[in-house]
Amino acid sequence: MLSFIVIEHAQLDCYIARKVIVREHPASPVKFFDTIAAAVMSMSEANGSGNTPDIVLLDLMMPDGSGFHFLEVFEKLETKKREQYFIVVLTSSLNKGELSRLRGNPHVRMVLDKPMTVKKIQTVIEALHLER
């Protein structure tokens, strides 16, 4: 069973993510966090929802820090915890330096250009299955 975590504060982007996920995977649980702190808190406490990692859709511009800040904190989690998550960065950034830093980050599995669409969520899920 797939489950999703959306770290995003723009209302419209949350709405789109929810719709797209619900359309593709109506039964999958989706959690929304509008701050990095809340997301990290929840992720470090959770014990995983089974043998498939949760898909994390991460925005770079969060009110309490950038997505890079999230990745730094994520880095400090135990390996076992980290393996419970499949991190996908979803951003409107055009900044080459920023994008290549993301692609070079070992915890980031994919970097996608906003907005989320049905097609993009399909590629995410394909990538997740390919890895397993």
């Binding site: 723009a10 209302q11 419209l12 709405y15 789109i16 009110p63 409107s92 055009l94 900044n95 906003k114």
Partner: protein, 361 residues
């Protein structure tokens, strides 16, 4: 009258120093030094020295050697060497290495000195201007970098949201669902629009010259009430205005209104949702050739840790409301142009108070 050009003359012979000073003190402000050390300490004390004239033959150090040293410490003043023709070889080398702007043969004539000084001064002005322009250019580049960065987030962010919404809308049949989506799209459009108009304010206030005129603050406030009246009353915000103007106040009306509009918009935008006693207070007192303006709101407030940075370009204390990070930056820039300043005090969840002082022009 324009200030006299400041000139430093270095020569080990006291007679030459006295003679030089006597000949030119009416036209220029002359400093004299008997050796390199004295010259350096004068340069340190008087950063306005624009031209250095130095004799080549000095006991401890030649003029060329002195200039070599000065060039690294004080690159701006223009260097002129006075020398007898016997030293010509070393002088040619120095000129070619760019250490010397001109040389004057010994014995010198007043007219040669004057023409060398005038030419040197023109060169000084041109290269100082170039340096200032370079600094401005560097600043502009830095801003452009920040702007390019914010383009992807502040312009592209809302746009990509709208694009995603359109994509979704193709498959939505339900009218209520569609309305919900439209509302969300609308607020993204507002965000974009807000950003663009702040950008416009930014560039028009930066580029334009001030147009100073008599300001009637009562009229300015009436206009504010006209602009924001409907919005304020539909959102149940109390708006108290008081103006105390007994004297004329001169300033640039466009810039002044831009400042007030930005602060008013913030006071409205950052109100607490569903709070029962929303209020905005605007008080303006003109006294002693200055305007003291206070804008107080009962909004969400700003954490003290953000007080410094809210006036920076593209800085946002909160991401929970539409905003470009340009508003207060524009306010600060505009106040700088008017010669005024702004301070902020705020308590989170209780409200914010902006205090402005603007001198009359």
């Amino acid at each position: 009258m324009e200030k006299k050009i400041q000139i430093l003359y270095v020569d080990d012979e006291q007679d030459n120093l006295t003679g030089f000073k006597a000949a030119f003190r009416l036209s220029y402000h002359i400093y004299t030094a008997e050796n390199a050390q004295a010259a350096l300490s004068l340069l340190e004390k008087h950063p306005d020295i624009r031209i250095i004239i130095c004799d080549q033959r000095m006991p401890q150090m030649t003029g060329v050697e002195f200039f070599e040293e000065v060039r690294h410490l004080y690159p701006l003043p223009i260097r002129i060497l006075i020398t007898a023709y016997t030293d010509i070889e070393s002088v040619i080398g120095a000129v070619n290495r760019g250490q010397i702007f001109r040389y004057i043969g010994k014995p010198w004539y007043d007219v040669d000195i004057v023409s060398a000084i005038e030419e040197a001064h023109k060169f000084y002005l041109a290269s100082s201007m170039l340096m200032i322009k370079n600094q401005e250019l560097q600043l502009a580049y830095n801003e452009l970098d920040k702007f390019a960065y914010s383009v992807s987030h502040d312009l592209r962010g809302p746009l990509s949201g709208i694009l995603g919404a359109i994509e979704l809308a193709r498959d939505i049949e339900d009218v209520e669902e569609m309305k919900e989506l439209l509302n969300l799209m609308e607020s993204s459009v507002f965000k974009l629009d807000d950003y663009i108009s702040s950008m416009h304010d930014y560039y028009s206030s930066r580029r334009g010259e001030l147009k100073v005129m008599d300001i009637d603050f009562n009229a300015v406030c009436e206009e504010l009430q006209e602009i924001y009246g409907v919005y304020i009353s539909t959102n149940k915000i109390r708006f108290n205005v008081s103006v105390d103007q007994q004297e004329t106040f001169r300033s640039d009306e466009f810039v002044l209104k831009m400042i007030l509009n930005n602060l008013m918009t913030n006071a409205i935008k950052y109100q607490k949702k569903n709070y029962h006693d929303k209020s905005i207070g605007l008080s303006i007192v003109i006294r002693g050739g200055a305007a003291d303006i206070e804008i107080r709101d009962s909004g969400i407030g700003i954490p003290e840790s953000h007080f410094e940075e809210i006036f920076n370009l593209f800085s946002r204390a909160t991401s929970h409301r539409a905003g470009s990070g340009l508003g207060l930056y524009n306010v600060k820039g505009a106040l700088l142009k008017l010669g005024g300043h702004i301070t902020v005090s705020s308590v989170v969840d209780q409200g914010t108070l902006f205090k402005l002082m603007i001198p009359s022009k």
